[in-house]
Symmetry: C2
Subunit: 423 residues, 2 copies
């Protein structure tokens, strides 16, 4: 999508990979000291060695320090940090841990609809039960506790719900949860004895004015010991999103809170089966949570590069919403965070029938036509789940601004033509 890698990240990674470059005076001193520190924490001082299964010690410490800074000083214990192969790996591992054993066929996992399909796929793979709760599209994809309650009650008739998954900021829906809503979710989880999984990989992707990222961990601890001493929580982060965009390295971490020590011992055993997450991804995670500081030689360039990416994302989030909402029959919530818009599209009855005749979901039919006619590839809402009778697509805001404009205008044209054709 044209987003350039952050120079600091790649320089340190190159030094870690080929330490002979540490003698090269083209690399700033701070990139060298970071690389040396990471390598000293690796077996045989090599990024090619297995690490411990939970992840490199100094990286887990740096992650804990990052979380503590992010959450206004609320302590984070490196023993609760597990480095992962991207956030997906952590999410699948926790789902596996929580649904394992004889009762798996009756363990319910609550997920939002729309959702990121990793959840539905993993739940199916593990033989657990998917329990849907719907986000409120009318209120900018917010989460209503009454809907959580309805969903839980309905599920209890055929399974034992044990896990509640939240994606904040939302994928595919782009909303940013309010502090109040997070507090309500935590109270709900406490009351209903649910394990909270907070997918917070878009924590740095917040654009809308008045919106702010609140971590579940921080809110939990601010609610006092009544909650912070008992609600079980796993939170996930990654190197793949935001200004980093380093998805190929498969870096990530999770922090687990209030996990029963015996369950945690099983978690440690479970992750050890796959030996360790990729060491380059771990090193990169370290750089993300421990970026250049004022006064360090790489600081100016780092800030310049990061700011440019973040401002462009904010601009593109706004642009996407604005242009899409000029199209009759398309209605788009503000892209408050993450990297996607998920507009609702009105499809004419005849288009719906044409899709059904082809055995396709109506929004899949729409997206295939779009692809054929314009070369634009969007993901139909049916891939994420949506309320019966509504249709959506997910579109990323990542392309460069000028390309995004062209793309949105092509889409606008297509939608008008499509609507005409099937009316």
């Amino acid at each position: 999508m044209g987003q350039q890698p952050i120079t600091f990240f790649r320089q340190v990674m190159a030094l870690c990979t080929y330490p002979q470059l540490l003698d090269d005076n083209k690399f700033p001193e701070d990139t060298k000291s970071r690389a040396r520190r990471i390598l000293q924490s690796c077996g045989g001082n090599s990024i090619g060695a297995y690490t411990t299964s939970q992840g490199i010690d100094c990286v887990r410490h740096d992650v804990a320090n990052y979380i503590q800074r992010r959450d206004g000083g609320i302590p984070s214990d490196p023993d609760n940090i597990y480095l992962t192969t991207g956030a997906s790996d952590g999410i699948v591992t926790i789902l596996k841990l929580l649904t394992a054993g004889e009762g798996r066929t009756r363990t319910g996992v609550m997920i939002s609809i729309p959702q990121y399909p990793l959840y539905s796929a993993s739940i199916a793979e593990l033989g657990a039960v998917q329990v849907n709760y719907y986000l409120n599209e009318e209120k900018c994809w917010s989460l209503d506790i009454s809907e959580l309650q309805r969903s839980l009650q309905a599920a209890r008739e055929h399974c034992i719900p044990r896990v509640l998954c939240i994606i904040n900021p939302g994928n595919p829906t782009g909303q940013v949860q309010s502090r109040q809503c997070i507090e309500d979710v935590i109270k709900f989880a406490a009351k209903e004895n649910l394990f909270l999984m907070a997918d917070e990989v878009y924590q740095d992707n917040v654009y809308a004015e008045g919106c702010e990222f609140h971590s579940f961990k921080k809110v939990l601890f601010e609610m006092g010991p009544e909650y912070s001493s008992k609600v079980e929580l796993a939170s996930f982060h990654s190197t793949s999103k935001c200004y980093m965009g380093e998805c190929g390295f498969r870096g990530g971490y999770m922090e687990v809170i209030n996990m029963d020590p015996e369950v945690k011992a099983q978690l440690t055993k479970l992750v050890s089966v796959r030996l360790c997450p990729p060491a380059p991804g771990q090193a990169l995670m370290d750089l993300v949570v421990n970026s250049p500081q004022p006064g360090e030689p790489s600081y100016q360039t780092f800030i310049k590069e990061r700011t440019a990416i973040l401002s462009a994302l904010a601009e593109k989030a706004k642009l996407t919403e604005e242009i899409l909402n000029t199209v009759p029959g398309i209605s788009c919530n503000p892209v408050q965070g993450a990297m996607y818009s998920f507009p609702c599209i009105a499809l004419p009855e005849r288009a719906i029938n044409a899709a059904k005749a082809k055995g396709q979901a109506p929004d899949m039919f729409y997206c295939m036509k779009l692809l054929e006619e314009t070369g634009i590839c969007l993901v139909p809402g049916s891939g994420f789940g949506q309320r019966e009778g509504t249709y959506h697509f997910r579109m990323t805001i990542l392309p460069p601004t000028d390309k995004l404009k062209i793309l949105l205008n092509k889409l606008k044209e297509f939608h008008q033509k499509f609507t005409q054709q099937y009316s």
Copy 2:
């Protein structure tokens, strides 16, 4: 363990990570052309982008070419190659695929005893049934078809065996299977309709005179269409072993043969849930299967480094066997391949009783004492499985020769002292 990385690998990886180095004249031309070729096959020419879930196109082609060269021209189709997060990931994925669904609690997976614990752990995790067949320690850990037959027959009374796993060269047992034995195993799998999983990650680790690595794929195709058109096979390889030793990068691949197209479609879907294997590991896998050629600037250094590591491994394999066999009460088969010895140890009755009183397996008791008294860490045979009443440990041959000698002599001393103490 002191093994140094191959310069060529790390140079290309550094160039892929930080392409600004492509202008640096310190890097040989062939490392630059490799890096350029890999980057051109990556999204946005970046190793930080997601790759397709099956793996980077040019890497899969290079892997297929490598297999074809290795197997004397027998064709390999890039469509049958899946890049993986280390070999472990591929093995777990295939096990998952083959044991999935309602019947999983009755699907039997045959594994050798002793085995590499990834197998037993994954089978347990997946809720399938572990079916043991014993390797013949008296005949240098060879595989007897009569034992496979016995094991299968016994298993059929309580489960439906569908998969036969083979590790060749052996881990932890270090044997290299003869061509004849592989042929017999393939006939057995064909007759009994078993899916063959060939763990061939040690294919370059063969030391003993008269021993040679034969891939299951090659033998299968040399047996003619009666077998090559029907026996289902998955073979696994990795960047973690041998002269490469790049475990931290989590690179690997698998080749699937004769897989039902609908099952293969499910496999492709299954791997897509985790998005993609780490791109740096994929790039490294490419370099392993496509190493410098005569005439290229990196060739001489590459061969020198590789030969030094391989000769040292061969020397250390021999040394380990020789020294261990001088110890009364230790009996060690030749380390024909892989990276471990797995000697049988005679433990005095009193030691066995002392272990039992502590609730420990006798060889765990032995290994703990060794660790406490000498600082040497070995893995007890009970972690891999062994015939009832026999005791073993696994010891890697990886330490530098001089350290290995000291280590083996310390172990010798300890064993004599331990035997005396408990006699």
